[in-house]
Amino acid sequence: MRTLLAGVGLGLLALGCQRDQVAHYRVPRENQGAPGSPRPTAPPQPMGERTGMPGGASDVPPPPTPSAKAALKWSLPKGWSETPGEGMRFATFKAPYGGKFEATVVVLPGPAGGELANVNRWRGQIGLPPLDEPGLAKSRTALKTRAGALNIYDFTSEGKVKSRMVAGYISTPDGNTWFLKLTGDAGPVTKAKSDFTHLLESLHLD
């Protein structure tokens, strides 16, 4: 009996140690941005309850400080106000609508990991699976602004309480990448989308 207990104890100990060790796998190359590439994902929800949460401000690498000349500018829709960003945000907008949503501007240095990686990270934030390059192209809406070509994405999550994200992605001549995002519960985001689109259309550099 003692031997049995000692055996069980050693077995559990070995199992515990094994879980702590560096594991090695040789796996076929994954496509960057394809499903399963390195990225944080929200855990799947039970059937019928897949909700997803809008992402916070802490989801991106650090922004550079854009020079006044290269900084992106916009016209605020009626009733909207703007506060300088905290943390990694360049700015936060306040819209005259109720509900759980937010509109933010984030600026990152260089390509910031690329459009596909960023779009897939946003999708992960509302519980959606990643896209591949053709999928990315399909979900992109191009808009010409005075600041240059802007790509707009509009995603809505699954589930009873849907989350929605409308995001504009634009690169400025100084090499920075700007993200303008409207995220939150699908209802209020839908209400604010028209204003937000006007804001995106108004983007300029000077």
Binding site: L12, L15, R19, D20, Q21, V22, A23, H24, Y25, R26, V27, P28, R29, E30, P35, G36, P38, R39, P40, T41, A42, P43, P44, Q45, P46, M47, G48, R50, T51, M53, G56, A57, S58, D59, V60, P61, P62, P63, P64, E86, G87, M88, A112, G113, G114, A117, N118, N120, R121, G127, L128, P129, E158
Partner: protein
């Protein structure tokens, strides 16, 4: 002196009063655990109340948590002792064989829950239609993946689990010249722009411009920890700088040592499998005219070269696939019904509840047959008398 005390203790351990106290404690734990799920999420509450020996609580103003209630593991352990003690008391006669079987069945059931609590691993597998996946992914645990991406067709993935990262220090990566020095690990952190005048421990990658602020860990299903770490890879006596690896940073960062390019990525822990699943079809049927789900099913092609196996399997609700020690349940879906999420459970003791059910059922039948026979005999005797 000692013998009477031991006898007294043994008598108490097998008493019905002790059983009632333990059952009452279990009921209280079920209630407390249910209420705690609001704040802690299902997994967090189950771990804190059901799979622990003591329920701890952190009071404000105290630097350490205090024990506030016995955990269900402790109550279950005493209940098992109580049951075993009672079972040992049952006379080994044919007349009591049914009762004995019922008690043994219950002991097996309790043992099954202990095995599940200590050894069960819960992961998930997300597959899109047409996609082939050969790994399962943890819900909450992270890993620092050091990936040698030099070969154009294969990735050499070295996974350092969060449990090893949390201990800190130097971690040698077997099979490579690399050692990863973990400077600081955050189970959950918020990243923000580094304010002017402050410096970061990071010297390479995007880390030098990022401020990392530790946050309390979250356990609710809808929330994710943002595991982060400052790590310094070294090889051949050379340091490649201090990098910030974080689940909040989507794009992987890389450095090159002697022609080998290594990516660093903090991500949910993956367990690669010696077989792969390809999702051939996902069905989401609803009752006609409504949005009420009638059926979810995933048709997967299981390819296992080591077993020379290549077959189709249909996984649907309440009809999981049990394969190579893992159970794949249909759990979720997405992307306009083109993505299927399978919940994957690995529990070495999965058979024990079934064994228990069989034992208890046979025991009850045997006991019923014995009692019926006795009753009929009594009636017969009465008639004859």
């Amino acid at each position: 002196m000692i013998k009477p005390l031991a006898l007294q203790t043994w008598k108490f351990l097998k008493s019905i009063q002790f059983t009632i106290v333990l059952l009452a404690l279990l009921m209280a734990l079920v209630l407390l655990c249910t209420l705690a799920q609001v704040e802690m999420g299902t997994a967090g509450a189950v771990n804190a109340y059901m799979r622990s020996f003591i329920v701890w609580r952190q009071f404000t103003g105290l630097p350490f948590p205090l024990p506030v209630f016995p955990g269900a593991a402790l109550v279950g352990l005493f209940l098992t002792i109580n049951l075993v003690a009672k079972t040992l008391d049952i006379p080994r006669t044919l007349a009591k064989s049914g009762l004995l079987l019922v008690h043994v069945g219950l002991v097996v059931l309790f043992a099954g829950e202990f095995v599940a609590g200590m050894m069960q691993v819960d992961t998930n597998m997300s597959i899109e239609v047409g996609q082939t996946v050969n790994y399962v992914q943890s819900y909450k645990n992270f890993e620092l993946a050091v990936i040698d991406v030099t070969d154009p067709t294969w990735d050499e993935v070295y996974s350092i689990p969060d449990t090893a990262l949390s201990r800190g220090g130097a971690i040698a990566i077997p099979g490579t010249p690399l050692t990863v020095n973990v400077k600081k690990y955050f189970a959950n952190a918020e990243l923000s722009n580094l304010p002017a005048g402050q410096t970061s421990p990071a010297t390479a990658g995007i880390g030098p411009g990022v401020l990392v602020v530790e946050q309390p860990t979250v356990t609710a299903e809808s929330e994710m920890n943002q595991a982060s770490a400052f790590v310094e890879p070294t090889a051949g006596g050379r340091s490649y700088g201090v990098w910030l690896a974080s689940a909040a940073i989507g794009a992987p960062q890389a450095f090159t040592h002697e022609g080998h390019t290594y990516q660093l990525a903090m991500r949910l822990r993956r367990f690669y499998l010696p077989y792969a699943f390809t999702l051939k079809q996902f069905r989401h049927d609803v009752y006609p005219g409504t949005d009420i789900p009638k059926n979810f099913s995933s048709l997967v092609q299981v390819v296992n070269p080591s077993q020379k196996e290549n077959r189709e399997v249909l996984i649907y609700m309440n009809q999981p696939l049990r394969y190579e020690g893992k159970t794949f349940y249909q759990a979720s879906f997405g992307k306009n019904d083109t993505l299927s999420v399978l919940s994957v459970v690995e529990n070495p003791g999965w058979l024990l509840p079934y064994v228990s059910c069989v034992l208890v059922s046979i025991g009850l039948l045997v006991h019923f047959a014995i009692v019926l026979r006795r009753s009929l005999k009594r009636r017969q005797d009465k008639k004859e008398a």
